[in-house]
Symmetry: C2
Subunit: 539 residues, 2 copies
């Protein structure tokens, strides 16, 4: 293992009249002998005082904590005794949610895990509104340079730093480790979130030609960001490829292992955007598109993140019209999460309660008595619109019915169409078929909870044998953990970023055509989905 921070034993002679080497030089001379490789050694000015003081108070012997940066070893601290644990924090910096783990860099063991909502949400639910908030009061060039931090950006940066610090506090508490003893941080997030965390202007990210200010960042230490972890902790920010291709996806590629194998795989990560990567150790191609929102909490009226009270599973028997659902933690129903929504819409289609365009059917036109009875119970007029009632008020947590509105269904249809169009466009771009893929890796909360069979029914994912699909959970976080522990993984990020081809869908005609063709269930061309019942002729 080549973790980002390690402890190196030091044993130096005490000073004497015959050897009046300065403490600073004495420590470096003793350390140079014990370095694992020929990177140069550097004790930065900001660390001179505490490090040399501890070195002297420990009697010139003990353990130096070294940050293993790309070009050099940096002396971060000095300890009198060998550390039992060197804790590092891995962080998935999501637009809506933060997830983090605490890892022992000496053993790789997970010490704690936790998550928090991104409190930047109060400035806007999505990336665009946050960029807007960060940049509406952009300042003119001025001296001194401190003025460059625009007030909106500053507000967003402080907010996210506070959230990260709060999450750090939770990890520290549950692991029994002090926050200031966390010695490294690896962050993966989308390009905008990385800009906001670092307080770097995101203005041009959302304006043609969509140029981020940075993709790779230079070395940062925690004190530069007011983080509560140790001030000399290196902050590794996953590099990105472009404005809409962030470090979270690089992290996912790393965690999936797809860039280390000759077999061709596809990685699908659905968060606020759907991001898709295709490739192997020889080549990688990627694209992204707005296929996610309908599946995330906050867009559908009754949508919510996967958490207690979220309906995560729904079935309706097409013969008996018996409906069943299950909430997370069996709590009273609060809303419906992405996987529940996919289940529900697939069931509505198979039971012919919605048509192939995803429109709720009119009970007045229904002839089948069993279906009619079910429709009369579940399809209602609500505030002048036709809605599908998932649960009645009595079964819900807030005494409020859980309703699926047409507008939610429409968003869902756009998302599923976008997703399938993205996947087909990407595979077609390199002259492959879906059947050429060794594996389709589905990452994120979407991947963890989704039932691929239901997604296939909707025409969201290609009609392949179910064992082609593998869920890997929060791959953005898993990649950050790898980076904490493994120097090869840190180098691999660089290789992935420089080698990847990005396919811009905003200007891609083929994508637009495929998107239109995908706006039916399962698809305009039903032959693409042989396993899905076909009601096209009957609609």
């Amino acid at each position: 293992m080549t973790p980002l921070v390690c402890a190196v034993p030091v044993k130096a002679e005490s000073p004497s009249l015959q050897d009046n080497t300065a403490d600073y030089d004495r420590l470096q001379q003793a350390l140079v002998k014990h370095l694992a490789d020929d990177r140069s050694l550097y004790l930065p000015f900001s660390r001179i005082v505490p490090v040399t003081r501890r070195f002297r108070e420990a009697g010139f012997s003990g353990y130096a904590l070294l940050n293993r940066l790309q070009d050099q070893w940096v002396v971060a601290d000095f300890l009198a005794a060998e550390p039992e644990v060197i804790a590092g924090m891995a962080l998935d910096l999501g637009t809506t949610h933060l997830e983090a783990t605490l890892i022992d860099l000496q053993t790789g063991q997970m010490l704690a895990e936790n998550n928090l909502e991104n409190s930047q949400i109060r400035f806007g639910a999505d990336i665009l509104s946050r960029i807007h908030h960060a940049t509406t009061k952009r300042r003119q060039l001025r001296k001194p340079d401190a003025d460059f931090l625009d007030p909106g950006l500053q507000e967003l940066q402080q907010t996210i730093v506070e959230t990260v610090n709060e999450l750090t506090g939770k990890l520290a508490e549950s692991s029994g480790i002090q926050a200031c003893d966390i010695r490294a941080l690896a962050v993966s997030g989308n390009t905008t979130m990385a800009h906001l965390l670092l307080g770097v202007d995101p203005y041009h990210i959302c304006r043609e030609p969509y140029i981020p200010l940075f993709n790779r960042v230079p070395d940062i230490e925690a004190s530069q960001l007011d983080l509560v972890i140790h001030g000399a902790a290196p902050v590794w920010v996953m590099p990105s490829v472009g404005s809409y291709f962030g470090g979270d996806l690089i992290s996912g590629i790393l965690a999936s292992g797809m860039a280390q194998s000759s077999a061709t795989r596809m990685l699908i990560d659905v968060g606020t955007n759907a991001e898709v990567v295709l490739g192997n150790s020889e080549w990688l191609i990627a694209c992204a598109g707005a296929a996610g929102p309908a599946l995330e909490g906050g867009v559908a009226r009754m949508g919510m993140r996967a958490g207690p009270g979220a309906i995560e599973f729904v079935s309706i028997d097409p013969d008996t019209f018996t409906m069943e659902y299950r909430t997370i933690a069996d709590a009273p129903a609060l809303g419906i999460c992405g996987s529940g929504l996919i289940d529900l819409v697939a069931a509505l289609y198979l039971c012919r309660l919605i048509d192939i365009r995803g429109k709720i059917r009119d009970p007045a036109k229904e002839k089948d008595p069993l279906r009619l009875a079910f429709m009369q119970e579940h399809i209602l007029e609500h505030e002048g619109k036709r809605v599908f009632r998932v649960t009645g008020a009595s079964a819900s947590a807030k005494g409020r019915e859980v309703l699926l509105e047409q507008i939610d269904l429409d968003a869902m249809m756009r998302s599923k169409a976008a997703m399938y169009a993205i996947l087909t466009t990407l595979v077609n771009q390199v002259g492959l078929e879906f059947t050429d893929l060794e594996e389709i890796i589905v990452a994120g909360a979407f991947g963890r909870h989704i039932n691929p069979e239901k997604a296939i029914t909707l025409g969201m994912l290609p009609d392949l044998p179910l064992n082609t699909y593998r869920a890997i959970g929060n791959s953005s976080l898993r990649g950050a953990e790898r980076v904490l522990l493994d120097g090869d993984a840190r180098l691999a990020c660089e290789k992935i970023v420089s080698g990847i081809t990005y396919l811009e869908l905003n200007v891609n005609q083929e994508f637009m055509l495929r998107f239109s063709g995908s706006r039916f269930i399962p698809h305009t061309d039903t032959a693409l989905f042989p396993s899905v019942p076909n009601f096209h002729s009957k609609s």
Copy 2:
């Protein structure tokens, strides 16, 4: 010229959908083509925001300001137009006095010069009392690391930073350049002053075995010290050799050119300490001792720095007993500076108004009527002690007589004895004679104002032809200027520090013997001073 900071032209393509390189990468890619050597290029995190913003606002073309550090080029700023002046500040950080110049790094031209008293004096006139102040409330190891800055040290650091900033303001004002447009700072000072400026614990400097915390410092930028010059300005601190062998002397060696010539020279720098270096381009040996205090303002009761009102020249005719003196700027007499004191004591000796031990003679025992008359006018009882009156109250600025007390004379005798003992010990150490020296270079205010003939009369300097002596003024400041302008000079500092041999006088028996032998005027062994009248037999 290879100045510490330079402007490099940059011309990059504007971003487009076909070229979505991030601003940060775009700047670096454009710059790499124009670097003067193969040092790596680095745009630190702290500079990303202002530098890339200016780069973009300048239309991706202009001039990058680069710091030429030892191992890398660091991007400090970006300017739309070629800078007319790149100002750098050279600073001699003295224990009692600061002197500084502003230099155009593109032409080497001096733009301004000024000086200020070191306001740390209110915490103690000398280094030892300041170390005491800095370290009396040293803190225990604690978290977070910020606690490491002991309160006394913090006070001293803030004070000196304020003084440096005040001096910067003066330079800025007289040159018409804004303080934040000063792009580099080179500082030379003794080891303790360097520690205090950087806020680094000086505790062990004055305690056996006299270990400084650092001799060489890593790269520092101005923002780390709260300096008012540009935040990204590199702060070059002259390396030192040991606790009592500071960067000011390394700077002096650099400025003297002695390490660049095969002829052997001696450099004498008298400040609070006397520091002496002997050598040539092949070898250098140095030592230091407390030979200075009597010559600096603040020790002798009527002592003062060379400034308006200071008596800088005194003569007494040994035949007529006519006394003459001259003050700086012909102002009413305020006190007496080092050169005036040496003139005066030499005259007192030649007129036999003091004996060979430096004691004021008793007028009651005088037989020569002319001398007696002069003695009766100038040798008085003052507060119960015998004193020599230099000027009466009417000629003085404050209506107060300028008096030389016996205690001042005793201090002067110790200083001159220490000086001669240092010089002879050092020359003897390498098996040379004074006559082997090509040149004796006298630096500092001492060197600028002293009349070597009078110093020889006292037995302070060896009895050599007067043209052996050369004054070079403030060599500490001159060396700092060279470092701003010349990369070879920066490398030479390193070479001087690593090559020099330091002779510790505190534990040197030979020095103690020579010191005792030097406590007469001109010396116990009068044969060493053939040019000086010898009154030993008559005393």
